[in-house]
Subunit: 158 residues, 2 copies
DNA sequence: TTTAATCGGCACTAGTTTAGTGCTCTTTTC
DNA sequence: GAAAAGAGCACTAAACTAGTGCCGATTAAA
């Protein structure tokens, strides 16, 4: 039912936490790394799943990782340069909405039977674009700013 | 990954088809019923699943049904009075986005461990509202109008 | 140089959801 | 009464999700 996965939830929790840490730091200070373990100690989430999410975020270019003792993760950019669309895309792939409405205009996994006569392909593709635009317009910064006016979240939408 | 179910796809196909039939009819004419079989003969979709979808739409108050020979379904209102939000809600329940972010502000299935310290509950609830607003703003009429300007779909968003 | 913390990759299990089908009952027209 | 159509219940198989286990690679520190 249009639901995000747990992995995405955990990833978002970690990212928002990192963004809050960044906001509390003086602007000139370099971001310090924080380990998956440290985040897992703060929030009662399955640590392995959290690590899984962080790994995906690193592969998606949203986090930078440092290995070894004292290693960990940090945001690869400032929080206002990271969009929710990017995050969700890294954690569970771009939203497809329907099996046939992939991002490329063409069909999907082996071809859809209905496609030649399908009356909803085009409208659903437009709808998918609308959702995507919504996600692209929300920054990690906006997510982390708890005092933000709700409508402010979607200011970049129209 | 933010995907609609097949049942929803089939339901949407049927609804868009009915809306197109309605558009081709003179305004004063009463809508004729069309059977699940007849729709299934037009579009190559599993007929039973289609029937399942139509049943849900009837229960959701979007379609009216007539039983018996010559029975079938028809739209309970004109296509511009039916929102995509209603349709999706009837076919697969309202979009929840996350397990904890139900429509009622309170928690969900048995209580979330993270909730007391969760940094994303509020922002995700706002995001869910945004998606929901998007869905509410798209009418069946707009979905059925294939020549519509893509941006026209989302005119009711901002 | 050894140890321990940390990320990185592969694989596995159990539970839930989704897709699709079968059967029977009720209603209604012919 | 026969046939067409919706309504309801239950079932199976496949796919996806959540979560865990294990081990290798890297690196700072003792």
């Amino acid at each position: 039912m249009l639901r995000l996965t747990k992995r995405t939830e955990y990833g978002l929790i970690a990212l928002v936490h990192m963004a809050e840490l960044a906001a509390a730091r003086p602007a000139e200070a370099e971001a310090e790394v924080i380990s998956a373990r440290a985040i897992g100690d703060i929030f009662p989430v399955p640590k392995r799943m959290l690590a899984e999410a962080l790994k995906h975020l690193q592969q998606g270019g949203i986090l930078e990782s440092t290995r070894g003792v004292r290693g960990g993760y940090r945001l690869s950019r400032s929080a206002d340069q990271i969009s929710l669309g990017e995050i969700v895309s890294a954690l569970e792939g771009p939203p497809t909405l329907t099996s046939c409405a992939g991002l490329g205009a063409a069909s999907a996994d082996g071809g859809c039977e209905v496609e030649p006569v399908c009356p909803i392909r085009s409208p659903l593709a437009r709808l998918r674009t609308g959702i995507w635009t919504l996600f692209e317009g929300v920054t990690l910064q906006a997510l982390a700013d708890r005092s933000a006016d709700p409508t402010g979240l979607f200011s970049a939408t129209g």
